[in-house]
Point group: C2
Chain length 490, copies 2
C-alpha cells in the first residue's frame, strides 16, 4: 500500500487520499456527485441509526416528500429564493427519443414541462405547501416530521463529503402553535446534534447562534454546532433554524386557535448531512489512516491469525472462534480475517487505514501462553493479555478508546482556542495558529464582512453559554456585548 | 368519519380512499409524485428493516450511487435504452436567475449543461460505470451491493404507491466471476423476496420467470414474484434479473481470471419498491379499512379506556399501564390512547381504519371483573379475557393473526386460480371470475401479444416449481411444454 501524504505536508491532499484509500467514497462519472462506497456507507448507516433513534425519542416521526419542487414555489419566500433557488438542478423535459441521425438519444423537444421542476436543495417549500392541507386547527399541532433524503445544490468546487452536488441528509420540519414552542424545538434539536457529535462521533462542538449574515435563507435564528478540524479550520456540522411564521405566511398556513381566532403556524427546520462523514475523518484521523470512535466503527475488533502452516491456523482458529463468540455475545462487531491471500503485515496496515479501533493478533506462541496481542488504533500501542476474560477487557477498552478520542479532540480544541484583544493579534493568531479565535465585535454586518474579506475568517457563532463579559470591538473599538467565535472554515 | 366506498361497488375507488383516509400517502403539488405520510412511512420502515436484514444475512452490503446519469450512458446498452431512457426526468440547466421583469425566477439560459443528466429510473448504467474501476481481478469478485434510493419514471397515469413518477425502492447490483454464480444470486434474491412477502406481508406469491416480452430491459432472464389482489388482478411485487454480461460489455468491465485469461463480468440486479405498500393494502384490507399483518404494523395493540369520570380514568390507567409495560417487555408495540378529545367509538373506528391488529378496551366493569375486551381486526371478533396473563394471550394472538391473514389470502388465491383448456374458457374465466388462469401456450411472442390485445391478460410468469405436464396451446393448438400463469395485472 502506498503511504498517505502527511497531514503536516498537505492536509487537504491527506484528506482526499484518505477518503479514497480507506474506501469511504470516490468521485463518480457525474461532476460533483460522489459514490459512497460500502465501508463509508456502513459508517453513515451507524450515524443514521443513532440519529433516527434520538429523533424518535424526542417525539418525531419520519415521512417522505417529493424530490421535485415546482419552480414557482421558490419565489414565495423572498429571502429563501436568493439563498436556494439559484445554483440548482433544473428539470425542463420529461422524455428522450432516438436521435434521427442514429447517434443515441436526444431530448424530445415536444416533451417540455409547462413549469420547470427543481431538484430539492432543501424542502421547506414543498413541505409547507403540504402542511397547508394537514393543518386546520390547534388539534393538528404540533407536527414533527423528519425525512431522510438526497438533496442537490449545484456546487462549483466540490470535495468528497464536505461539499458535493448531491448529498444525503435528514431534514426535520416542525409546525407549532406558539413562537416559544417553535424556539424550544429549535433548541432541543441543536442539543440533540451536539449530543450526537460528542457522544457518538467523539467530536466536541461549540453550540451557538449564527449572525444575520450567516443565517439560513428564511430563518429568524440559526443555531449551529461548530467543530474544529486538525488543521485549525472550523466545520459547521449541523444547524437548527427557527423560521418564525415566514413559511406559514408564504404558503398561507393558518390554524384555528383554542380561543377561536386564526393565526399563522410557527416553524422550525434542522438538518445534518453526509458532511458529518468529512468531519469525522478530519477530527480524529492520523498519517496512518482513519481513527474511528468505537461507537461508529462498522468493525470494532479485527482479529488476525499469525501462522505458517495449515495446522497452526487450525489451532489458532479454534481459540479465535471462541473469542469471536464471546465478543459477539457482548454486541461487539468483530471480524476474524483468516483470508490466506494477504500477509499479516498487509492486514495490519489495512485495518489501521480503515480505523478499526482494536486489532487482535494470535500466533502459535500466544496459543502456547494462552495470550493475545491487543493493538489500539487511537494510541498505536500494543499489549499482550491473557485470553481468559479478553472479552471483558476488550469491552472496557472500547469504552476507554471512545473517551480517549473525545478527550484528545477536546484538548486540541482547548489548545487552539485563543482570546484576542486587537485586530492585529487576531490576524496573527489566524495566520500562525488558526483555531477558534474569541474576539469582541460591534455587532455590525459591515464589520463582519470587512473581517471576512481581509482575513477569510467568519463568525462561526455567538455562544449560547459563553462568557458574557462585555468589551470593545477589536476593529472599531465600539462596545461589544460578548466575545464571538471567529475561525476560517470549511 | 365518512364511510369508505365498498370494495364490491368500486375496488379502485375503495383503494384510493383507503390510502388517503388511513393516512398512508397523498398526492403532492408535483404531478405524479406522492407524499408518504408518517403512518404509511412507518410501515415502509418496517419493510425496509426486515429486507435490509435479509440482504445482509445473504452477504450484501449497502452503498450509494449518484441520482443523476449522463444521457450518453443510456445509449450504451442497446435494449436498456428502449426500456428506460424514454420517459424520464431530464436535467438541462443548473441555475435559475431573477426574472428581469420581476416575476419570480427563470431558468438561466447561460447555465445549460453540455450533456443532459437523467434522473435515475434504475441504476445499472451508473453502477456498472463505477464497477469498472472496482474490478480488475477475480480477487475483486463477487461484489454484492444494494442501495436504498428514490427513482423517477415519468408515468402518464399514476396511482398512489402502485405507479408514481417518483418512488422509493432498493436496487441490488451484483458482479460475479461465473454465469452460474450470477444465476444463483438471481434465484437467491427472488427467494428472499418470496420469503419476505409470505412471512412478513402475509401475502402468498407465485415465483416464476417472465417471458421474453415481459423481461427487464437488458436482462437475459427476469424472475418475479406475483401476488393476487382481492379484485382478481395480479400485482408484480418484486423482480430479480440475470443480466448476463450485457452491462459488463456495455461498460467494458473485464477481470483477470484465476487462470490468467480475461473475461467479462457476470451480473444480476433485483429490486422491490414502495409498490409493496399498495400490494399490502390490496391483499388484505376490507370495507372498514386496513388489515395489517402484525409483523409490519407500526402499532400492534391499541388500548382504549372507557370512562365517564376522571376518577374512573385514573383507576383504568393504573391497570392499563401495567399491561402496557408487560406488552412492551415482550417487544410488542402498544399505544395507550387516553386522549380526551375523542369518544371511544371514534377511536375504535380509527384503529379499525388504520389496521391495528388488536384493540383492547378497558372500562369500569372490566376493572371490577379483572378482565379486558380484546378485539381482533382481521376477524372483527371480540372476546373478554382475564387481565392475568393477558400479555401472553396477546403475544399468541398476534401470531395467530399473522398466520390467519396469510391463510385467508392463500385460500383466496387457491379459489381464484383456474385451469382452462380453451381460449373461450380462458376469456370466460377472465371476464367472470378473474384471478390466475393456468393455460397452455405455444411459447410465441406473437400469440402472447394477441392474447394481451384481445383480453388485456398477460403472462405473469412461468412457474419455477409448477406442473410440467405438456399440452396444447389454447390459441393455436401447437405443443406447449407446461401451463403458464395468465392474469390481468396492475
Amino acid at each position: 500500500m502506498a503511504k498517505l501524504t502527511k497531514r503536516s505536508d498537505d492536509y487537504s491532499q491527506w484528506y482526499n487520499e484518505l477518503v479514497i484509500t480507506a474506501d469511504l467514497a470516490e468521485n463518480s462519472a457525474v461532476r460533483g456527485c460522489m459514490v459512497i462506497k460500502p465501508y463509508g456507507y456502513a459508517i453513515w448507516e451507524k450515524m443514521q441509526q443513532e440519529l433516527d433513534r434520538m429523533f424518535k425519542e424526542t417525539g418525531h416521526v419520519n415521512a417522505y416528500f417529493p424530490l421535485f419542487i415546482p419552480k414557482s414555489f421558490f419565489s414565495k419566500e423572498a429571502s429563501h429564493v436568493d439563498g436556494f433557488a439559484k445554483e440548482c438542478a433544473v428539470v425542463t423535459h420529461y422524455r428522450l427519443k432516438n436521435d434521427p441521425d442514429g447517434n443515441g438519444v436526444i431530448v424530445d423537444p415536444d416533451a417540455k414541462l409547462e413549469e420547470e421542476l427543481i431538484v430539492r436543495p432543501t424542502s421547506e417549500t414543498i413541505i409547507w405547501s403540504t402542511y397547508k392541507n394537514w393543518i386546520q386547527s390547534y388539534r393538528d399541532l404540533p407536527i414533527k416530521c423528519n425525512q431522510w433524503a438526497n438533496v442537490v445544490r449545484w456546487e462549483m468546487r466540490t470535495r468528497l463529503f464536505l461539499r458535493t452536488t448531491e448529498f444525503l441528509w435528514q431534514e426535520g420540519h416542525t409546525a407549532h402553535e406558539t413562537k416559544q414552542e417553535a424556539i424550544d424545538e429549535t433548541e432541543t434539536m441543536v442539543q440533540v446534534y451536539a449530543n450526537f457529535a460528542e457522544q457518538f462521533m467523539a467530536m466536541p462542538v461549540l453550540q451557538g447562534v449564527k449572525t444575520a449574515n450567516e443565517r439560513f435563507a428564511g430563518a429568524l435564528e440559526t443555531y449551529t454546532i461548530e467543530a474544529l478540524m486538525q488543521d485549525g479550520k472550523a466545520l459547521q456540522s449541523g444547524t437548527s433554524h427557527f423560521l418564525g411564521q415566514n413559511f406559514a405566511k408564504a404558503f398561507d398556513v393558518k390554524f384555528a386557535t383554542k380561543e377561536g381566532t386564526e393565526e399563522y403556524v410557527w416553524a422550525s427546520s434542522w438538518g445534518v448531512s453526509t458532511r458529518l462523514m468529512g468531519a469525522l475523518v478530519m477530527a480524529h484521523s492520523d498519517d496512518f489512516g482513519l481513527v474511528l470512535p468505537p461507537k461508529l466503527a462498522p468493525i470494532q475488533v479485527a482479529i488476525v491469525p499469525i501462522y505458517k502452516s495449515e495446522e497452526e491456523l487450525n489451532k489458532i482458529s479454534v481459540v479465535v472462534n471462541e473469542i469471536v463468540a464471546k465478543l459477539k455475545k457482548r454486541g461487539i462487531s468483530v471480524k476474524y480475517d483468516n483470508s490466506d491471500n494477504r500477509k499479516p503485515g498487509w492486514k495490519f496496515a489495512q485495518y489501521e487505514l480503515q480505523g478499526v479501533p482494536l486489532r487482535l493478533a494470535v500466533g502459535p506462541r500466544d496459543i502456547a501462553n494462552n495470550t493475545v496481542e491487543v493493538a489500539r488504533r487511537d494510541t498505536l500501542t500494543k499489549e499482550v493479555v491473557s485470553i481468559d476474560g479478553v472479552d471483558a477487557y476488550v469491552a472496557d477498552l472500547l469504552e476507554t478508546i471512545q473517551e480517549n478520542i473525545y478527550k484528545k479532540a477536546l484538548d486540541f480544541r482547548t489548545e487552539n482556542t485563543t482570546e484576542v484583544n486587537s485586530y492585529e493579534e487576531f490576524k496573527e493568531v489566524l495566520n500562525n495558529k488558526g483555531g477558534f479565535v474569541m474576539a469582541h465585535w460591534n455587532g455590525s454586518a459591515e464589520i463582519e464582512q470587512k473581517i471576512k474579506d481581509e482575513t477569510k475568517a467568519t463568525i462561526r457563532c455567538i455562544l449560547l453559554n459563553g462568557d458574557k463579559t462585555p468589551g470593545k470591538c477589536m476593529v472599531t473599538g465600539e462596545p461589544s456585548a460578548q466575545r464571538v467565535v471567529f475561525a476560517r472554515a470549511y
